[in-house]
Amino acid sequence: MKKKLLDIQNLEVGFTVYGGYLRVLNGVYFDMVEGEKVGLVGETGCGKTTTAKSILKILPVPPARTTCGTIFFKGKNILTMSKNEIRNIHSHEISMIFQDLTAALNPVFTIGDQLMTAIKYSNFRYGMSKREVRKKAIQALKEVQLPDAERILENYPVQLSGGMRQRICIAMALATRSTLLVADEPTTSLDVTIQDQVLRLLGALIQEKDTSTILITHSLGLVREWTQRVYVMYAGVMVETANTAELFKNPLHPYTKGLMAAVPKLTGEGIAAGIEGRIPDYLHPPSGCRFNPRCPEAMDICKKEKPPYFDCGDSHKTACFLYRD
């Protein structure tokens, strides 16, 4: 039985903004064991990035507030860790790849500066010499198949294409040999032709280093191809989770069903259907199940109570009163 790596229980996070308080995460549950590749799927605005940033504890704390919940990493609660412990986690255990390529790298510093700094602090306990750091940096760049690594170290982000920048981000994330990688929509801002390349690379590297990965995306296709287990997220709650194959074979939650139906099928059976409505306003979220205004199968109880998880088989859970067996 593999060890549980990450265990999030009932996480509630909100943001204080001008107009009020955005209750974004409304009781998030998530867990994974070592070596797993887990997908986190949901539409834009459902709270995926907020969850990711919570795990890494990089939410901007004045507007953001964690009102409830725990995030256990290797048995210790991240939310109550001291600054030093968090630093440790950052340098050795968890790394992240960001979605927005143009903003992920500091534009006024060279790649070399940023990459070498990342490596330096990832091993700060061991104090490497500058030459060693540089060697590692070049090695990391070679691993992501970037040609002419020496020259790239001297370049600035503005001189490189999106695909190259993303590879560098991957290199930075993996150079630290972390246990867990959180990849937030790693290919969304890339050209379609590059997306596949970069994903294959990422997949191969994760495989090779046996890095546990959380793949955050809004693309069902990616999830199907690259993950072993999936969490489906909507409006700050996990609505369903299952092994990937099982989820696609047998989606239970009305939202998941809607997502699957919305994907155009290659067999060309008519136009893909959408889901009526929009994501809720986090200032005034709907009571009870947050999906109830859009749910084609909503019942009375859905409007009043928040659905807990119901077990529906081998690792298959869903938060929907329809399955209140």
């Binding site: 001008y18 539409e43 809004h218 693309s219 009526e276 409505g277 929009r278």
Partner: protein, 298 residues
């Protein structure tokens, strides 16, 4: 593969009323902008109705009353009186009038000219027209605006009209440059090229296609500029090149009052605060307008 989850959405076609309401909401989010708007409203009101709401409207003109000269602020004269016995509060009110008029005149002159030239220069990029216009603006911006305005104002006879002309001469290049930036970046947009291809006249392209994109920045600049123009004009009158006595002009009043510092401080301080007040109002309101227009864009 992307997921279409919001297929059945309401079509977006905001009417003018909706936009105004949304705009006001954004604007009012920042309490400071609202303060600015209130200040400007107050100033405009005062300027408009100056003859009716000033306690001593005659003091705005050629009036002397040496018995009451140099009175400190008190019950009968809220801001005190100057060395000629004139009520300073009244003169400040009339001063607002003058400042606003100057601001409006200067901007009404410079904005259209500057914007038009900027449109032309930006659209006709890489032609002699652009080079000519932009080189001329370069010349004007090579020197701080105040200095050239001073020089021009000094050369002409000092009066309000000439100082307005001087400031206008200095001001149009800034509009030109800003609009030039917008126009030249838009020049290669598809809708411009398609308009060209379908035979639209240059005039049409300039004013119906490119110009609407400039409304936002220009409008913001206008509201911020009112403050700057008033500041510049006050500097000109400070050295005696603007309104001549006995016309009440805020800058002149500060200059005159400066002579009697520190004993009769109120003669200079109140007009100075009035200048700050009005400029602050325009600055802050202009910021709010800029925020409002940015939200509309994004």
């Amino acid at each position: 593969m992307r997921i279409a989850t919001t297929a059945a959405e309401k079509p977006l076609a905001p009417g003018i009323r909706e936009r105004i309401r949304k705009g006001w909401y954004t604007f009012s989010q920042n309490p400071l902008s609202v303060v600015g708007a209130v200040i400007i409203f107050l100033v405009v009101f005062i300027a408009f109705f100056a003859p009716f709401i000033s306690p001593y409207p005659e003091h705005a003109g050629n009036f002397v009353d040496f018995d009451n000269a140099s009175q400190p602020p008190g019950k009968t004269h809220l801001f005190g009186t100057d060395v000629f016995g004139r009520d300073i509060l009244t003169r400040v009110f009339f001063g607002f009038r003058l400042s606003l008029i100057m601001g409006v005149v200067v901007i009404s002159l410079t904005a259209p000219v500057g914007v038009t030239l900027g449109l032309i220069a930006g659209y006709k990029k890489n032609t002699w027209v652009e080079t000519l216009i932009m080189r001329i603006t370069d010349i004007f911006v090579a020197v701080p605006p105040l200095i050239l305005a001073l020089a021009v104002a000094a050369i002409l006879t000092p009066n309000i009209f000439n100082s307005m002309m001087a400031v206008s001469l200095m001001w149009w290049p800034w509009y030109c440059r800003m609009v030039y930036g917008i126009a030249s970046s838009l020049k290669n947009e598809f809708y411009i090229q398609s308009a060209e291809v379908t035979g639209a006249s240059t005039l049409h392209i300039l004013f119906r296609e490119i110009l609407p994109n400039c409304y936002g920045p220009v409008f913001t600049k206008v509201s911020l500029d009112m403050g700057w123009v008033i500041l510049l004009a006050s500097a000109l009158s400070f050295v005696g090149l603007g309104a001549q006595p006995p016309t009440p002009d805020l800058g002149t009043m500060v200059a005159d009052g400066g002579k009697y510092m520190p004993d009769q401080w109120w003669i200079a301080v109140f007009p100075a605060i009035a200048i700050m007040f009005v400029v602050f109002g325009f600055n802050v309101m202009g910021d709010g307008i800029r925020d409002m227009l940015e939200v509309e864009k994004g």
